[in-house]
């Protein structure tokens, strides 16, 4: 099986889209992240859900586990949503020099090749494209399903 056979259609967001839109896509469709494209529709990077969390949870709370416990659920959630309001997808991404390398393979990449790229970049998503043609995206869950099926270990 090749990457192009594994690729699924996947929602894309633009750099200028609202941050809340990206968060909603991840939340409502239970996605591990979204692919970010520029104005020409060219993939730029992957925005994993964990990066959205890094943006909405203040650094001092991430570093102090005791502080994370003192929020009540409702006002904690309101604080998080407030941080996304009026922001763009571009603002959610880390600075350019720290931005994740785009996890990408060509259509004829093997299953293990796909797994190796995702493992190296710790990405839950893998873009499959040849030149300007985007075939779709491979997710970790789909890839693991294929690997387990190949050995008859899938339930």
């Amino acid at each position: 099986m090749r990457a192009r056979d594994l690729a699924e259609e996947y929602p894309l967001v633009q750099l200028t889209d609202e941050a809340l839109t990206a968060a909603r896509l991840i939340a409502e469709q239970r996605r591990p992240g979204v692919v970010v494209v520029d104005a020409d529709g060219k993939p730029v990077t992957v925005l994993p859900g964990s990066q959205v969390l890094r943006f909405i949870i203040p650094g001092y709370v991430q570093e102090d586990p005791s502080l994370a416990r003192v929020y009540d659920e409702r006002s904690g959630a309101e604080t998080c949503v407030r941080k996304l309001e009026g922001r763009t997808v571009k603002e959610l991404l880390p600075p350019k020099e720290k931005r994740y390398e785009l996890p990408k393979v060509s259509g004829d990449a093997t299953v293990i090749e796909c797994a190796a790229v995702m493992a190296r970049l710790r990405s839950p998503l893998l873009l499959v494209s040849d030149d300007d043609t985007v075939h779709g995206v491979v997710t970790t869950s789909h890839l693991l399903e294929v690997i387990l099926s190949a050995t008859g270990k899938a339930t």
Partner: protein
């Protein structure tokens, strides 16, 4: 001056310039200087490692190590977060009341823990409370670090320079409580009043935001109640040990090490976790400094400088005390007060001995402590805690510039020294 004296002064001055200008890491500068002193035979292994007067002061090193371990465990309990949130709720979110409570908590904690640890503990909860109240956290952070340096002056363990002074001057924990703590309490009252004026533009009260602070649950901050009680119990024993160390004839360093060992033994904290917060770099920095200063003692430089200073003050103890207070404050504002006190301690010890160990001459130690500890507030680089808070603020997107800090710090440091001078004069010269 002899050739060995000139050589030791050159090595010491070179290392000091490197430490002050931060051209190389301060540990590298101190260790490099110590190595050169040994290589040039300006001191030797026996003196460097075993001499009480001219070697590494192991009491200082192990007292710091023991307290770092204890503090590392207490940090994990969430006690500080609990206290700060409870205080903010008790203040009902009123900005000045919150600031006053935070600075009092910080100063109190700094008297028992070291200043850097205290500001590392109070800063995150300050960001949280200010965020909830819609306030700029910068005035709060600056006030806290200033309070931390003031509070740390009160006790033997509150600030590393005090540990050096205690060891070199043969002063006990109780000596610091009797001679410095009462003044620090008065200074803290004055500081809180000054904060009302100094940060007057920062206290915007938004009634709608108060509910967000009142909704925080401080009890949830305590993650491990058993560990909390174990830590508080051991800390109480250690503080009791410090107070009674003269009676039971045990050095403060031994008390701290026993406390650290007991806490690791009775709690479920692993050895790795207990040692994670030990600042090994600081301990090694101290060792390097002690070897360098020891070489100055061994070659007779300290004797020469002490004699010159004694001649300069003309046997007038009051002039000596005031000059030391002012000089220490000015120098500590621009250079790290740890190497400064490490260098000055043997000089002050000789001056005290030369004046016959009277109450007036002993006040030189308090003058050195007040000048060095409180002078550190004057600039953003005057004390380690100041530098740490500037780093924390920048990382959280609210950078504090050097001058932004300094324009508040210099007022507080100036006020502190202006109050310390009449305190020393009244207590040791008028009422003695």
């Amino acid at each position: 001056m002899s050739a060995t004296q000139i050589l030791s002064v050159l090595v010491f001055a070179g290392a000091y310039v490197l430490i002050a200008t931060e051209r190389v890491h301060r540990v590298a500068a101190a260790l490099g200087g110590a190595a050169l002193m040994l290589a040039l035979r300006l001191t030797d292994g026996e003196t460097a490692f075993h001499s009480l007067d001219a070697g590494v002061d192991w009491n200082v090193v192990f007292l710091l190590l023991g307290m770092m371990i204890i503090v590392g465990v207490i940090k994990q309990t969430g006690l500080f977060e609990y206290l700060a949130i409870a205080a903010a709720k008790r203040a009902r979110g009123k900005p000045f009341a919150v600031l006053a409570m935070f600075v009092v908590i910080t100063a109190g904690a700094s008297a028992a823990l070291d200043n850097v640890t205290t500001v590392l503990l109070i800063a995150p909860v300050t960001f949280l409370v200010c965020d909830r109240l819609g306030l700029n956290p910068i005035p709060f952070l600056i006030a806290e670090v200033l309070a931390s340096n003031i509070g740390g002056t009160a006790t033997l363990i509150g600030d590393p320079p005090n540990i050096i002074i205690a060891s070199r001057g043969g002063l006990s924990f109780n000596d610091f409580l009797v001679h410095l703590a009462p003044f620090i309490v008065v200074l803290m009252v004055a500081f809180v009043v000054v904060c009302r004026w100094l940060f007057r533009d920062a206290f915007h009260y938004d009634e709608d935001r108060v509910a967000e602070v009142m909704a925080l649950s401080e009890r949830e901050a305590i993650r491990d109640r058993r560990l909390l009680w174990q830590s508080l119990g051991v800390l109480a024993l250690v503080l009791a040990g410090f107070v009674l160390h003269g009676v039971v004839d045990v050095e403060p360093s031994v008390v701290a090490l026993l406390g650290a060992g007991l806490l690791v033994l009775i709690s479920e904290v692993t050895t790795e976790e207990a040692l994670a917060d030990v600042e090994w770099e600081t301990l090694v920095f101290f060792m390097g400094l002690f070897v360098m200063v020891g070489a100055l003692v061994k070659t007779g430089v300290i004797d020469t400088v002490s004699a010159a200073l004694a001649g300069a003050v003309g046997g007038d103890p009051l002039l000596a005390v005031m000059a030391l207070l002012a000089g220490s404050a000015v120098l500590s504002a621009v250079v790290d007060n740890i190497p400064y006190v490490a260098t000055m301690s043997p000089i002050v010890a000789e001056l005290v001995a030369a004046q016959g160990n009277t109450p007036q001459s002993d006040s030189l130690w308090w003058s050195l402590a007040l000048g060095a500890d409180l002078g550190g507030n004057a600039t953003a680089v005057g004390a380690s805690a100041n530098v740490v808070v500037l780093g924390l603020a920048a990382r959280n997107g609210t950078p504090i510039s050097f001058w932004q800090f300094t324009r508040y710090g210099i007022v507080v440091a100036g006020l502190s020294i202006l109050l310390a001078a009449p305190y020393l004069w009244l207590r040791y010269f008028v009422l003695a």
